[in-house]
Structures are given as structure tokens and as C-alpha cells.
């Protein structure tokens, strides 16, 4: 894991001091609301429906046990005893007091954390695959690259007042688990025929009001040019992105207006001036970033582990289920990656209490080298668990309520905070998630449905990624009443697809029944071994639509 050096520590400390000054000037009336807004947003501070909300950065989702404990302390001392993990691999506190934010930032700085650029019209937290470094299909560990890009983006003097927010995701595996095609910039690390790392650059993807998939503007970027090429993209966007309409200000609008080819040409022209300049990445630098993410000293597998696991699964069906859904293969024999579900029924997806955070920290230390990862599905991952420890870990997780064996199923809903918390939301989203989880709580049914993502957003801003859910639910406001629009066929990942809206929207109480009809349609028409998304791709929306809107006979 990356550790701060003197420069990181200095900068974070100076940022806390800067923000303390800004907060004091605001409270003293020297900064107006309008002036303070962009400044506080670049420190992750929103003024929400009920209280301020503070979004803390978890760079590319990696967090240590020490940091988890500090989040627990902050939740207890400054908040109402819980925290919320987001779809951007960050964490949010919903009840801090404005005057205390600088103190919270100071507490974070002590454990090498911050809230820098977690909001505002700047480059946001870099996101990646939660299985980085351990996935069997990985071709290049994305974490050193994430750190490189994080540093490039942090306090970039030219790009702090962009037309709109800017999100970058990096993937280094065959299967894209970082949803790079729905980011402003997506970077795919791969190896060319000679085995050298190259970068495929996607630009202009994004969800929100105008969902779009990114397009490739450069196929084979050499690593040393990564920063200067990003500088060129951002400069084109900063200069020519629209600033007259907030809803048309993302980079995707420029890419669409010019066409990807013309956009690529303009970036190329700009880049010719920057290429090989002082921001060129050196081998030594890359080596430095890589040195933080070398493989730990894995232990050899014990010979009887697999036989024991077999006996345990035979004796305990619940363990077998968990093993099947929540445990993934690791590139090193004898190890596994375990997903902790933060989606038990009745708890808002992504929410954890202070005590739970501390318990997770303890477990991370006992079972996974003292680290955890936050996923964009709002779960946590222990990436380095010995297979010999799986049964013991499962029992601990079960006691804590993190062993709900529904990862990747309908029960593993992605859901934004929605109208219960967020001032942007048109509708509530958490109660919808809960109603669906309650309606479909039969594990056998969930397993029969297989891999199926259901994503819920409370407004067009799409924090719940509804466009790329196999089933997507969007809260809309119609003359002051909350309705829900339902779409199907979306997918994130290597075969990213935007879902299609089924038809007129529904009242909240109707949603579980509608989801039921979609599922019935799938079960009726699926071919053997066909997943939900495969069926959608084969037949389109028509059969689903027909049954959803069929009049009661």
C-alpha cells in the first residue's frame, strides 16, 4: 500500500491549514456562500438536506486497518456513529458540524487520509478494480498507475476550475471491473506483443443526464507519456468544454459535439507541445510507485486445506453458499479474495457503524494483511485471505452481519443515499432497495436467477449507476410526487451497455411487483445457462415490457 513521504505529509497538512482558514473566513463573513462553495466542495464538503456531508477520499479504494479505526473514531466522535461507503470507492459522513470539519481533516491527516478533490469541478478520486494485485486475469497491477495519476491530479494548478467534475478509472485486467467506459477518462493497461505495458485511452464516457460510453482516442500510449497526454486531454477540456450549461458541461458533450476523431486530433496537436516535457514519467518514478505494491510474502498452501473446505461445505450449506458467491479466486494458490457484503436486508447499502468498522479492522489484521478495499458496489473486500482461514473468517463475518451470501445477485443492490439524505435527489432510493431485498429474500431463488445487477439512483446524476445495472431504477419527480422509471439491459465492465427504459414509471409500492414480472419473464424465456443480461441481449426489451405492462387478466 502507498505510504506518504515528506511531500505528501506536507501537502496534506498545508491543505488542512488552508481549509481551516477558509472555514474561519466564511464563518466571519469574509467569504460569501457562493465563494465558499467551490472551496469547500474541493474538500469534500457538501451542505445537505439535513446537515453537512463530508466525503473522504479512499484513493483507488485501498484502506488500512489503522485508517478504518480512524473512520470509526470520527463516526463516533463527530457523527452519529456510522459511515457510508459510496459507489466511487469513497466514504461519507452525513452528520458532521461545519465548525468541526477542519478537526476531522486533521484527524484524517494523521493516518494519511484526506478529503481533497472528492467533489467540485476538478479531477476526483481515481478508481480501479477492487481485486487489483490479486486477480488471476490481471495483466498489469493498476495500483501504481493509480497512485501516479492521483499525484498528478492532486492540486493540479491548471485544472482546479474545470467546466465540471472529472472522473478517471484505471483497469489492468482482461475483464474490466472498474467500469472504465463510463468515466470521463478510462485507462486500460495491457501488454503488447513484446510484453511491454501500453495504455488504451477512452474518453467521454459517463452516466448522469446524458449517459454515454467512452470512445478510444489512443490505442497504444506509452507509459512515459501518460501525464503529458492527460495534461493535453484536460487542457482541451478546460478550454473548450461548455460552461454555459451545467448539464452539458462534462467532457462527453465536447467529444460528442466534435466526434471522437476530431477530439483525438485536437488532443494530439496539443500533446505535441507537451510530449517529452518535464511531466514525462521516468522509469525511476514508475519503479518508485511499483515498490509500494509488491507482492507480500505469501505462505505455501497447506496440503489438506481443500479437503477440509470440502468437508466444511458438506456439513454447512450456508458456508457453501457464501463460498460460492462471496469468495473469488486469487492468483496465488492457497489464497482467496473475500467480499464482505454491506447489503444485509434492512440496512442502507454501504452503511457501517463505528463498532463494525473496528471489527472489520480487527478482521483485516487477522485475516488479510491489515488491509481492505472499498468496491464500487459498496462492499468491502479482503484481498489476501488464506483459504485455510476461510471457514473461520466466515463465522466471524456471519456474527457481524457481513456474510450475506448474495454478492453479484439481485440482493447485492447498488444504491445512492437518495432523497433521505441527498439534496439533489428527486426521490428516495434506500426504501426501494429495501423493499426489493425483502420481496426477493429467498436465497434459492436468487441463486437460480444467478448473476444479476440491480442499481438504483434517486436522480439523474446517477450516483447509483442505474444506466449500467442489468436492471436500473431511476427516481423521478412528477409534479412533486416520487415515481420510478425502470430500465433493463445495462451492463458495466468490458461489455459495457446502457440500459433501455421499459416504459412509463411506477409508484414506489409497485416497484417490487414490477421487478417480479421482469424476473418471471427472464425465467420463462431464458435458454439454459443464459444469464439475465445475455437473455436481454438476445431478445431485447419487448418480452419484458409486455409482461410488465400486461393488464391483469
Amino acid at each position: 500500500m502507498y505510504r506518504y513521504d515528506d511531500r505528501d505529509r506536507t501537502l496534506v497538512r498545508e491543505r488542512v491549514r488552508q481549509f481551516r482558514g477558509q472555514t474561519e473566513r466564511y464563518l466571519a463573513g469574509e467569504l460569501s456562500d457562493d465563494q465558499f462553495r467551490p472551496l469547500r466542495l474541493q474538500n469534500g464538503l457538501y451542505i445537505q438536506r439535513l446537515a453537512p456531508m463530508l466525503r473522504i477520499s479512499i484513493p483507488y479504494g485501498l484502506i488500512s486497518a489503522t485508517q478504518l479505526r480512524r473512520l470509526a473514531r470520527i463516526a463516533r466522535v463527530y457523527d452519529k456513529g456510522y459511515a457510508h461507503f459510496t459507489t466511487r470507492q469513497n466514504v461519507q459522513f452525513n452528520w458532521p458540524r461545519l465548525e468541526e470539519i477542519p478537526d476531522i481533516l486533521e484527524e484524517l491527516a494523521e493516518v494519511e487520509m484526506h478529503a481533497i478533490q472528492t467533489s467540485g469541478n476538478c479531477v476526483r478520486n481515481i478508481t480501479t478494480d477492487e481485486f487489483a494485485g490479486v486477480a488471476p486475469d490481471e495483466v498489469e497491477d493498476p495500483r501504481p498507475w493509480c497512485e501516479l495519476v492521483r499525484q498528478w491530479a492532486t492540486f493540479h494548478p491548471e485544472f482546479a476550475f474545470l467546466p465540471r467534475k472529472f472522473k478517471i478509472a484505471i483497469s489492468g485486467s482482461e475483464q474490466d471491473r472498474a467500469a472504465i467506459q463510463v468515466h470521463d477518462v478510462g485507462l486500460e493497461l495491457y501488454r503488447n506483443a513484446a510484453g511491454e505495458v501500453r495504455i488504451r485511452v477512452f474518453v467521454g464516457g459517463g452516466l448522469g443526464r446524458t449517459p454515454m460510453l467512452g470512445e478510444v482516442i489512443r490505442e497504444h500510449l506509452e507509459p512515459r507519456h501518460l501525464r503529458t497526454y492527460l495534461d493535453a486531454i484536460l487542457r482541451i477540456y478546460n478550454r473548450y468544454g461548455r460552461r454555459d450549461n451545467k448539464h452539458k458541461a462534462r467532457i462527453k458533450i465536447v467529444v460528442k459535439a466534435w466526434g471522437a476523431e476530431e477530439f483525438a486530433r485536437r488532443v494530439e496537436r496539443e500533446w505535441q507541445h507537451l510530449k517529452d516535457g518535464p511531466n514525462t514519467v521516468t522509469e525511476a518514478e514508475l519503479g518508485h510507485f511499483r515498490s509500494f505494491f509488491t507482492a507480500p510474502e505469501y505462505r505455501d498452501p497447506e496440503p489438506n486445506t481443500e479437503a477440509e473446505i470440502q468437508a466444511q461445505t458438506g456439513a454447512d450449506r450456508a458456508f457453501a453458499r457464501w463460498l460460492e458467491r462471496n469468495v473469488r479466486p486469487h492468483r496465488v494458490p492457497g489464497y482467496a479474495a473475500v467480499t464482505l457484503s454491506l447489503k444485509p436486508v434492512g440496512v442502507p447499502p454501504g452503511d457501517v457503524t463505528d463498532a463494525q468498522l473496528e471489527a472489520i479492522a480487527d478482521l483485516a489484521e487477522t485475516f488479510s494483511l491489515g488491509q481492505a478495499r472499498v468496491t464500487h458496489h459498496q462492499n468491502l473486500v479482503f484481498a489476501d485471505v488464506r483459504r485455510a482461514d476461510l471457514y473461520r473468517l466466515w463465522r466471524e463475518l456471519k456474527t457481524l452481519g457481513f456474510a450475506t451470501p448474495t454478492i453479484g445477485t439481485l440482493g447485492d443492490i447498488i444504491c445512492c443515499p437518495g432523497g433521505d439524505f441527498c439534496s439533489l435527489a428527486n426521490a428516495k432510493s434506500i426504501p426501494i432497495a429495501e423493499a426489493i431485498q425483502r420481496e426477493f429474500d429467498d436465497l434459492d431463488y436468487l441463486y437460480d436467477l444467478g448473476d444479476l445487477s440491480l442499481n438504483i439512483s434517486g436522480c439523474m446524476n446517477a450516483c447509483g449507476h442505474h444506466h449500467v445495472g442489468n436492471i436500473g431504477i431511476l427516481g423521478v419527480d412528477k409534479k412533486g410526487e416520487e415515481f420510478y422509471q425502470i430500465q433493463i439491459g445495462g451492463a458495466a465492465g468490458s461489455d459495457a451497455t446502457l440500459g433501455q427504459v421499459l416504459g412509463p414509471s411506477f409508484y414506489a409500492p409497485e416497484v417490487p411487483r414490477v421487478i417480479g414480472r421482469i424476473l418471471e419473464t427472464y425465467v420463462r424465456i431464458r435458454h439454459e445457462d443464459e444469464t439475465f443480461i445475455e437473455t436481454c441481449r438476445r431478445v431485447g426489451v419487448a418480452p419484458f415490457k409486455e409482461w410488465v405492462y400486461a393488464k391483469a387478466a
Binding site: 511531500r7 472551496l39 469541478n121 492540486f155 493540479h156 491548471e158 485544472f159 487542457r235 478546460n238 460552461r243
Partner: protein
């Protein structure tokens, strides 16, 4: 008269800024809008070069003056709103691509909290609203003592 923060301290601005349509080219030092310069270049060239300055908006193309930079005693980039970051890119282009070495000032709606980034992008003079104290401005200007990436100042040290 607007106050200007330079490396020498807080000074009164001794440049007269012409409005977009204004054609009175009199006075010691005048700051001419880019469009006026492009239209009246010949007439303006009769003045003592170092007493001519240009001001442009962040959305204007600095390459329009790339070949004339040596004629200007001052270039000002105007920020229509402090949230409009185009001027940051414009400044770097003038300094790094076109090699402008004279005074580069940020005018219009800027916050003291932006001074540090403005400085890193190549500005060396800043128009300050009356309500901002020198202490606040200097504090903001020196907000950070390190950086992660190379911009104008870091490249110059390079």
C-alpha cells in the same frame, strides 16, 4: 483605482484599462482589449512598445498575439467568474508555449484562494478586491510549499 499584488508588494495599478469599444489610446500605459489590438494594430504600434498592454478573456486564443509578445509591457487575463478556469490554461500557453516573459496579471473575478495556483500557472501580478487584506492574500499565495506536478514555476526551477 484597483490594487495590484506584485512580488514587490501591494501597489496602485498604473495601467489604464480600455473598455472593449474604447478608442482613446492616450495616456502613459494602456491595457487594450485583444480585439481592439487586432483591429487597430497599426495605429497602436506607433506608441512606445513597453507602454502597451493587452487584456484578453480566458476563452480567447492567445496564439493571436503570439508573434507580438515582445511588444507588450503587460498582458492581463480576465476572469469573468472565479469558477471559470480557462485563464489558467491561457496563462500556461503564453508562458510555456509562446515564451512570454513580461508581466502576466490576473484580473476580474478572482479569489485570494486561487493565487497560489495562478502563480504556479505563470501569473505574477494579481488584481485584488478592496475587501481582501494583504495578509490574507500573502497567506493564500504561499498556501503550499511543495507540488506534485510541474507547471510554469517548477519548470523554471527545473
Amino acid at each position: 483605482m484597483p490594487r495590484l499584488l506584485r512580488s514587490s508588494g501591494l501597489v496602485e495599478d498604473d495601467w489604464r484599462r480600455l473598455a472593449p469599444e474604447e478608442q482613446d489610446f492616450g495616456g502613459q500605459r494602456i491595457l487594450v482589449p485583444l480585439d481592439t489590438w487586432l483591429t487597430h494594430r497599426e495605429a497602436l504600434l506607433e506608441r512606445v512598445p513597453q507602454r502597451i498592454g493587452i487584456w484578453l478573456d480566458g476563452d480567447q486564443e492567445p496564439d493571436a498575439i503570439a508573434n507580438d509578445l515582445a511588444r507588450f509591457g503587460c498582458i492581463a487575463i480576465h476572469f469573468p467568474a472565479f469558477t471559470d478556469g480557462r485563464g489558467f490554461s491561457c496563462a500556461r500557453l503564453l508562458r510555456e508555449r509562446y515564451g512570454y516573459c513580461g508581466e502576466l496579471r490576473a484580473i476580474g473575478d478572482i479569489l485570494p484562494d486561487q493565487l497560489h495556483y495562478l502563480w504556479r500557472c505563470g501569473f505574477d501580478a494579481f488584481e485584488l478586491p478592496d475587501e481582501v487584506s494583504l495578509d490574507t492574500a500573502l497567506d493564500c499565495l504561499g498556501a503550499f510549499s511543495a507540488s506534485y506536478q510541474s507547471a510554469v514555476r517548477e519548470a523554471a526551477r527545473g
